[in-house]
Amino acid sequence: MTGLLRAEVRKLTRRKLFWVMLVILMVVMGMAAVFLLVVPARAPEAVPRMPVIRKPDAYLLGAQQAIGQSWFPIVLAAVAMGGEMRSAAFAATLTRDSRRWAHLFARLAVFAAASWSATLLAIGEWAAVTAVLASGEGAPDVDVWVGMVWKSGLVVSTWTALALAAVTLFRSLGPALGAALAFSFVDGLVSLWTAYRPVSLSTNSTAMLGELSGFASGMGFPGLDPIPPGRATVVVAAWAVGLVGVAWASLQLRDV
């Protein structure tokens, strides 16, 4: 397993994909921070319906925004593993039937860890913008920050598992990437439906961090009951386990 992890880390860090995506994520988060925190406070006439998010809620909003960047773990995992599926390299390594779970776990661990690192950097970037430019006072307690850290890890692991499941099911990068991104989009959209909302991956991902009541009511969609963070965490964890199971079964039960 150590060798597999070492190999995955070497591959991931030597290709441009991760670094380019990291830059894009940081730019997106920086722009979002300025738009959501600075513009409503400094130029409210430009965005009249946008509420002013103050500290300490602004920090929590940043974590939600970072966790909401599901495209990052999906694209990273799908492209990295999809490229291998296209060549015979992965197929050859999977020759070892008994180690298929190990190959899957190594990729899940490394891709998720990479996405998690990027997400934490994005949260940090947002926090820096908040500290300097947002109005209001105060910051979340330490336990809230700790919660942001491990909860963001769970969320990116789940989106990574979704991408791996899609790749192992479709065995082709394009359809797998399209399906995973489409799911993330549709899941967020359909979560407005009250029957689906309790199991929506994207909604429960952000609900894990707690609700921003003022922000939500200010943006619209009133009347949706908040999902308790504990319950949301259970739902996201269930998604993660289920998606890893799909990926494993897809590798185990079909020809490589």
């Binding site: 060798g3 190999a7 591959k11 070892r96 008994s98 180690r99 020809d255 490589v256």
Partner: protein, 297 residues
Amino acid sequence: MSVAVRLRDVHKRYGETRALDGLSFEIPSGVLLGFLGPNGAGKTTTFRTILGLARPDRGVIEVLGMRVGPETSRIVKRVGAIVEEPGLYGFLSGRDNLVVASDTLGFGHERIDELLAFVQLTDDAGRKVAGYSKGMRQRLALAAALLGDPEVLFLDEPLDGLDPAGQAVLRDQLRRLVDEHDKTIVMSTHDLGDVEHLADRVVVISRGRLVTEGSLSELTAGGDRVRVVVDDPDRARRLLAADGFTVDGEADEVWVAGTDGAGVIRTLANAGVYPSAVIPERRTLEEVFLGVTGEQP
């Protein structure tokens, strides 16, 4: 001679397509085997089933005395393979590709330098593989396949698309692996010339079935004519025809059918005509291939 690979009545379907249809053959240890067949004959599927990448619907496959399926994890530690395109990472250097392959497959790094030297890539080991020529990629893939010091190598069209110099280098390396390192190599190819240059034995499949197998000399023998080299071909033709032989050929060519050559020499010598050579006709591998498959390789 021990058997390296044995297939017995192997079947594999992809939907309605029968990729393998009762395929059976054996490969002795320590030979370079040319694995031939027309497009769609089932060559790659055969490799994939042997390597455990595809599960056969029926039949038994043994590699080095172990059964594919229950013992695949033991088998793959003793075989190397290049199936379809070489599985290399263009964004990594040649050396890093071998490091990653070693780590992924659970081998140590101690053979990497030796293998880079064997495939003549030591000087280019630090360059990204994206900048390698196809020949260099194939050689690096060969090095990767050799990382675990395998006893059997399965190479799917390893010489395909290489320039003549690249082919020559790789041919030499493959031959050395068999002659000097006692490897067994199973090499699929469309190029019958490669097989004639390299292979000890040949297996030909078509539509997922074995159509012929044997040593190169066995397969290319079997022409029932001899060519007679003689100073006076016209007189030789007349003498042989008069003695009841079926004679063919024009000008300097004298071909005699249905004989092993001894009768030809006796007839001509009795008449005072002494041939400088009587050469049994050998079929080319292409003729053998076309004869058994009816298709282009």
